[in-house]
Structures are given as structure tokens and as C-alpha cells.
Symmetry: D2
Subunit: 305 residues, 4 copies
């Protein structure tokens, strides 16, 4: 069984200036990540614009990413559907293409409770043949994964880990504490600017959207943390946190929160020459020239140009 | 062009005791509604458990409903997908089966803003060949449809109407006021217990989940309102509002909010002999015997047994 | 015991251009309301800027209002404090000045539950010698008053009524239904634009902030409703709802939501010559000249200039 | 000017079994904290049940705390009122008794925006003669303090620091980064279980409610962090985090969230012999015997009995 740890960026989905999935850009981005030393890639997550992709596009993105990764790092696959039976269908279709693990959220659009979340995760784990990671992202699902459910499923080996993007640092630490005794359970933080503290608390790794832009920076944080050099980890985190300001480069109110964050990442990668366009999925708008100039200043200040 | 008005219940999706879609039960339910005098049916809405249906099940439900309706009433089709391109795919697949209008929400799981909602609805309307109704259901999408967007799209004829399940009675009245001058624009309330006031304010009709159970009751409210007999409308609304207590028959905390509400409807219909089972879609649990007994008392008190 | 019903506007607190409480303006406003035919006034509510008033100012406002009302209409007194013991102190101080009833919210700033809200209301009712109205305003307290608590306290005579500003029209109707059999229990709506529906559902009256500007309009709605002329009530509601747009006259983003709403009311009254200044309590900003011009157009269109 | 740093627990307010403020218990608690090595105490915060205290009780608590502290540690004073002018009155009354700094929230019950929060804090700082700390506690005020406002007020020296109980770890880190260059600005975390990460990010100290129970534990975390021994800090944090489970000892649903958390602290201190009763302020209920037994097990496991 694959060991999941370290830096596993949620892969962006580059598009051409005409709006199609940019397979060449995607391959270049995967190379950029592998060159930066990442330990895996997470395909079809929120950073990959998964809610905006048709099924055909999801298939294309996954096959392209697996081809680009070429076995150099494991590929985790986001399975983003509204409820259990739809997740099973989606997982079947995607895993037929490939992937080393699935990453699944709570039901969304539905009005669920803790018991339904537990049955949901159990049903998925019983159905698929790869490890299941629970993806806790209430800003999108509007439901926090209950701590006791996660701990129970961890202890029974139903789930292999958690990607926590909940913004609830207290719950994150309690999850770490409650699963510290489980050797094969991995808790990842999805928050870009508090990763040193997450590692200090015992996280197995980091799933940073910003890691698309600066994979090597996150690898340095991870390596420093594993070496016990916490001061170095914190210093590098501070540097990378300044870079995170690219998510605030959009003129306030001009584009949506989704478009501002991912648009900042895509624009930085375009400026760095990794991808060819900062085009976003419909109906999101790309950052404009004025906003791109702000991104450029921040990226330059971080020494990435 | 079809005129949309009156009572248009969001069709429940009956299941057999084994969990499959119950086509016979669905046909019986459609007959029950038509016999009650409804003016249309809304298939694949939240009450139809749409987030829990696989694509194959959605297709089956729609084709079964159209067959059962047999042209007696128009069929509105819910298109429940995360963002624009996925809605287009879903609409293409479903409208190939049939349907007289589509009903679409804001994007969900995404982090949108007003401009994206507007582009979303415009793109859908440009793509499909049937009228588009905007479905405002922030309890599920976690985004209220902006009033100014709805009014602009109404004035331009992009959308044919709104199904408002927002729980924002002030916004509902302002939408009614702002669109009163538009002859072919129809605003429906999705809230079961304040329909007399909604009609008094100028609503075109009602999309009541509870209308699955008591279609004739809602038709009486509508007819009284159209006849200007508001006292009769209010009295009938009070009677039907008491029936709405079946949504609170589940033991507190035993099942999710989604399962409690729809479970109450299904259980009532089972007790009334319309459908054969109160089975819910996974991962929701059905009401148990004790809870069904509470439903029976309420349904009996309403004179429906 | 006083009978509470009809139109009971929550009295604004006029200030001079220098920011002091304007006693003359307050007296003029009370005269304006009484001339409009209102059935009571509610002093020290949210519309009265009560969270912004020092205790000395609260005392001054109450004594001024009672003096101005001069027994022509009953005076309900808002008691706006964080929790039970502070409410008791506040009620003692204010009722020593006068008042025919107190209006109290759930605790706020506290993290309460239903049982604490019930004990809170019971303690207050046991302490004061005037009727207690529960003021349900979750937009400010961030806690919805539980329906079962309100019904139980109504049935036991602990509370004399409810002022519902919850924006939950379904809960409002269910409260009306559950208390319809109680002769001396009065449910008021606090929402300005859905009052015809509220009356149709059985409300005892309306507590409209906008009633400061157009008391006669609300009295016409009430009288039409009591006479069973619902079409007239709805038509008048539509007219007054258009006037409510003064709460949206502020340039988006320039002032807070609180300042925009109350600022619209104050500016309208200044333009109508009832009060001398649209000055707001600190730290709220008053509407500026450009915004006042928008208010003027709306007020003129409503025929109030 | 006093230097504010280190462990500054928000002092609980002990009550006698009859419900009065327990001055002896309060003095014993202050001694317990000072003996534990704390660097200050924060009186009249949320943990001190400040929303539940009458003004007379607030005065008594503050004077008792200052007397008990006897100059051994600085005393920070919570000024908990709805808006600006009320805060000024409250600050005047309390600072006449004493205190080395005030700690103030955003307005609450009001509907404010960023500009009003800024004017609010500026007005308070201009009025009082002691340093002002901004207290960011949106779980109670329902308004997050805007980052840019805090940074601007920090740079201008208007505020001396921030107590962050926002639960927004990303915002916390960005505040630390943005104010790192300000020598006399102190950012404290109010969250008990992620203090090692907060210190690693550059926090000046910790304001832990749980520090009432185990002040020495938090002092050990702080000392390890200052010595650069992060592994020791994390290990001690893990130990103390397990103790935090006393806030979950109440039977689910029996008491409010407020009563459960503070009730756990009070019960632990009663079991440890520091205070005589776990009585809570009205309308909160104290933990019962069964719940106290659960607290005892956790406290014993932490080695504090």
C-alpha cells in the first residue's frame, strides 16, 4: 500500500486562451510540481475547478495527470458528487482511468447529519478498491465532518486519512491527537499559511493550493519540520504566506471569491511561464491586466520570477 | 408557449421496499396529483430526492413521470448540477427525454457571486429550447439569488419565472412588486404554510412539497385566492399548515433534516395507500413505526385517511 | 390591562445636528405617529438605535416619549441587555420612569440554548409588573426564539405576545396557528413589506420601522385587513413597500447596514419636515446629500412630500 | 508602559452555592494563577461570564481581582458593551476602579461594518488613558474584526494588541505577519489547543480559559516556545489539549454551549479545591454530579488531582 505523506498539491486545471482543457499546460504543471519535490498530486479537487468540469473534462484531466505523473508520484483523485450513489458512479468512472486513492467530501446540496456522513463514507470505502481520504471542506459543503465519526472510521481502517480544509484549527488538533496512535492514518492540512503549526501538531503533510505555484517552498517547510528545525519551517512559512497574497490581488468585488483565489494561482503560473493562460472555467472570470500586475509584484517579491 | 401557474407539486420519488425507483408508485402518485387538480408537476426537485439520484435514476424518474402525466399537465424538470457546463450537459440529457421547462439553481459547491449567477442563468437560457425557471433555495445552495439579477433577467425574458424557497418573505414580496408589470413572468412560492399571503402578494402559484400529500387542499387555496375569497384561502391554509406537522414527526435527532421532511411526506402517502413504501434514498433512513404512528395521527386529523 | 394591537411603530431617536438627543424632534415624531392613527409606540427598540444609547440617553428618550405620548397611546419599552440579571436591572431603571409593557430579546453575546431562553423570559416576567413581549430578532441576537418555548410561555400567560422580526415566515405562521386559541396573546410582525399576509394569517398588528415615516399608510393596511378588504390591504402594502426602498438609498458599501436602513427613515422624516436632522448615533454615519436626493425621489413618489 | 506578553488567563468568576460572587474564591483563583507563573490576568472577559454580570457585579469582580493580584501581575479589563458610547461609559466606570489595559470587542447587537469598527476602536483609544486591546470574538459578536483595520490601528499605535478568539487560523497568521515589524504590538491567541503553533507563528502570548485550571501547563508551553524547544512545547500542548475535554463533559444537549465550557472549568477547579462551588450565573445551569464525575476523570488523568 502506498504511503501518503508530505506535500500533495491539489492540481490546478490549466485552460487554453479559448477555454479548453490545456493538456500540455497540465503536463508542464505536473513536471513543475515533481521538479519541486512534491510527494503526490491531488487531481480533481476544488483547486482543480472540479465543480466546473463536465464529466468528459474530469476524465480528460485525470488521464492527462496520470500520464504526466508517469508513476513518479502517487495520484489522489477527487470524487466530487452530491451524495452516496452519485459518488459511487463517479468513482467507478474515474478509477477505471486510474488513481491511487479517492478523496471524498460529505454530501452536499443535501441536508445531512452525522449518521448519514458516516454511512456515506462507509459505503464508498466498501465500494472502491483504493484508500479513501475524507475531505473536510465546509466552506463548500456547508457541513463540518464530525470529529467522532472521523475518529471511529480511522480506528476501523475505513478511511486512510483526512484532508482538512475546514479552517477549524481546534478541531484539526483534536483530530491529530485522537488519531496519533494509528500508524497508517494520515491527516493533512489544506490551509496554506499555517502549515508549520500543523506539522508541529503532528500532521502527515500539506495539500496546499499555493503549492502549485511554489512547490519547492512547501517541500522546504516539510523537510525542515521533519528534521525538527522548526524555526526554519516557520521562516519559510512566513515567506510563503506573503506569496499567498496573490489570492487577494483581484480588485475587491470584481470577481467571485472562487475566481480571485484560483485566478491568482493561475496568473502567477502564467507569469512564471509554467502555463500559457490564466483562463478560468465558466462562469468565472480571469484576472485582468491590472490585477495580473499586482500578482507579478508579489511573485517577484517572493523570488519566483 | 405553456402558461405556468397554479399548484405545481415537486414530485416525490417513491422507492420499493428494496430501494429501487418504484415506477408504479410514481405513476400512482402522479395520478393522485392530477386527480387533486394540480396545474403541473415539477420532477427532479429537492423533494424528489434529486441529489440522491444517479443519472440513470434521474432519467428513469423523468421518463416515468412524463409517461404518467400523459400530457394532462405540464412537466417541469429540475436540472441539479454544480455549475454551468455541468448543467448544460444535464439539461441536454434530460430534455432529450422530455419536459416543458427547466428549473435551475445557482451554482453550488462553487464560491460564486452575483455576476456569475447572472452569467450562469444566461448561458443556460441560451442553450436550452424550453423556458427556464430560477430556483432560489439557499438552504441547499447556500447562496441567495440576487434580486436585481432576477429582475433584470425577467425583464429581458431570459427567465420565465422563479421558484422561491428562500424563506425570505421580504425579498419574495419585492420580487413580486418588481415583476408585476411583466405579463409572462411567474413567481412561485415553495413554502407550504404561507401560501395565502404569497397569493395575496401576487404569486402565480405554489410549488408545495406537501402538495404531494394533499394536492386538493392546495388547489382549494389557489382557487379561493383567485376568486378573491381570502378568508377561505387563509382557513384552508391553516388546515393544511396543521398537516405540515408530519415533517416534524421524526424523533428529534434520529434522522437528518432531509430525511425527516421527505420521510414525513412519504410515510403519509404510504398510509393513504398511494405508494407502497416510505423507503428513502441512501444514506437517508426511513421513518420507523413509532414515527409513522405520529404521522398517522396528523394525517387522520386532517381528514385524509 | 391594556389591549395591545394594531400599528405600533418602533420610535426612531432623532438627534440634533450636533449629535444630542433631540427632545423636540422626538415629540414632533410622536405627534406625527399619533396623528397618523397608530395604536401604540415602541420606544428603545432597534429602530430607536437602542444599542447605541447610553443609559442616560435611554432614560431621556423614554421620559421624553412618555411625556409626548401623554397617554394618547400605550408605550412599550425595549429592554435591551445581554442577559437576565442585566435585563432585570435595566427594566427596573426604565420602568421607574414609566411604560405599559416591556419588550425583551433572547440573551445576546452569550451562547444560549432553548432552556436558557425560557428561564430568561420567565425570570423577567416574574420580576416586572407589566406585560412582557418577546422580541424575536435573530439578525441581531443570532438566536431564533424556539417555537415551543414561545407557545408554552404564551399558554401559561408568562408572555403577552411576540414581536417577530425573525424573517422566518413559516415559523411566524406556525406561531400564529399555535396561539390562535389564546384570547390575550398578540403576535406582531416586524417586517414592513409583508404585513397584509401577516394580518391574513392572524397577526394582532404590525411594528414597522417604516411606520415612523408613513404611519397613516400602515393604519390603512390594518383597517382594511380588519374590515376584510384584503385586496385594499394588499394594494396599500404594495404602495408602502415601494416606499421601503428608502432603506436602500445609501450608496452600496458606503455605510453599514444599520446606518443605511435607519438613515433612510431619518432622512425621509427630515425631508418631510418632521425632524430637523438625519444625524445618526456614533459610530454610524448619516446619509449624505446625494443619498438624501435618492430618498427624496422615493418619498415624493409615495406622495408624502 | 507595561509590557504585555505570556500567559494571561481570562479569570473565571467564582460564585457561592447561593449564586453570589465569591470574593474569597476569586482571590484563591488569582493566587492559583500567580502561583502557576502567569504573566497577567484578564478580568471581565467571556470566560468571566461578563455578559451575565450586572454593573455592580462587574465592579465587585474587578476590585476583588485587583486587590487579589496586589500588583504581582498586570490586570487587563474587559469592557463589554454594545456600541461606542456605552463602551466609553463602561470604561470610565471600570477604570475608576483600576486596571492596566482595556480589552474591547466590535459593537454587537448592532449591524456594523469595517469603517464603524475602526471608528469604534479609535474613539475608545482616544478616550481612555490605558492601552487598548482589540478582542476578536465573532462567535459572540458575529463580526470578524477586519485584518486591514487591525493592521492600520496597530501601525498608528491606536491599539496595543489583539486577543484573537476568532477561530480563523489563517487570519491570525496574516495578522502576525503584518505586524511582526511593530515592536510594541502584541498578538495573543485565545484558543487553548493550538498555542504551540501560534507561538511558532510569532504570538506574544496566550489567553487561555483553560489556563484557569492549569496555569503552570500553559506557562511551560510558553517557556518551551521562548527557549526554542518546540518539541517540548508541542508535547505539553498535547497534554493540555487532552485536559480541554472537560469542556465536553456535559451530557450532550443538557446545558448550553456556554454553560458546558465554563461549567467544565469551574467544576475542575472545585474538584481541585481551588474554588468552593461550580455554580454558574443565571440562566446557565451548573454541571451535575454525573457530569462532574467525567470532569474528575479527565482532571485526574492530567495529573492535577
Amino acid at each position: 500500500m502506498t504511503d501518503f505523506h508530505g506535500i500533495i498539491p491539489p492540481l490546478l486545471t490549466p485552460r487554453t486562451a479559448h477555454g479548453e482543457i490545456d493538456r500540455a499546460g497540465l503536463a508542464a504543471l505536473v513536471d513543475h510540481l515533481v521538479a519541486g519535490g512534491v510527494h503526490g498530486i491531488f487531481v480533481l479537487g476544488s483547486s482543480g475547478e472540479v465543480p466546473y468540469l463536465t464529466n468528459a473534462e474530469r476524465d480528460l484531466v485525470l488521464s492527462s495527470a496520470i500520464e504526466a505523473a508517469a508513476g513518479r508520484v502517487p495520484v489522489l483523485v477527487g470524487v466530487s458528487e452530491q451524495t452516496t450513489t452519485r459518488v459511487l458512479d463517479e468513482a467507478d468512472r474515474l478509477l477505471a482511468i486510474g488513481g491511487d486513492a479517492v478523496v471524498v467530501t460529505t454530501p452536499f446540496y443535501a441536508l445531512s447529519d452525522a449518521a448519514e456522513v458516516e454511512r456515506h463514507l462507509r459505503a464508498i470505502a466498501a465500494h472502491v478498491s483504493v484508500p479513501v481520504f475524507a475531505y473536510d471542506v465546509p466552506v463548500r459543503t456547508h457541513m463540518k465532518m464530525p470529529l467522532d465519526v472521523l475518529v471511529r472510521l480511522a480506528e476501523e481502517g475505513v478511511i486512510a486519512g483526512v484532508k482538512d480544509s475546514s479552517g477549524d484549527d481546534v478541531g484539526f488538533r483534536r483530530l491529530l491527537l485522537a488519531t496519533k496512535h494509528l500508524e497508517n492514518f494520515a491527516v493533512f492540512t489544506g490551509h496554506e499559511v499555517v502549515t508549520d503549526g500543523a506539522m508541529l501538531g503532528g500532521a502527515a503533510g500539506i495539500v496546499p493550493g499555493l503549492g502549485n505555484v511554489d512547490p519547492a517552498g512547501y517541500v522546504r517547510i516539510y523537510d525542515a519540520a521533519k528534521a525538527g528545525d522548526w524555526q526554519a519551517a516557520a521562516a519559510e512559512q512566513d515567506r510563503v504566506a506573503a506569496l499567498f497574497d496573490i489570492t487577494g490581488a483581484a480588485t475587491p468585488g470584481r470577481v467571485s471569491a472562487g475566481a480571485a483565489g484560483l485566478g491568482g494561482f493561475k496568473t502567477a503560473l502564467q507569469l512564471m511561464g509554467v502555463i500559457g493562460s490564466n483562463r478560468m472555467a465558466e462562469p468565472m472570470e480571469a484576472l485582468n491586466a491590472e490585477e495580473a500586475e499586482r500578482v507579478r509584484e508579489i511573485v517577484a517579491a517572493a523570488g519566483l520570477l
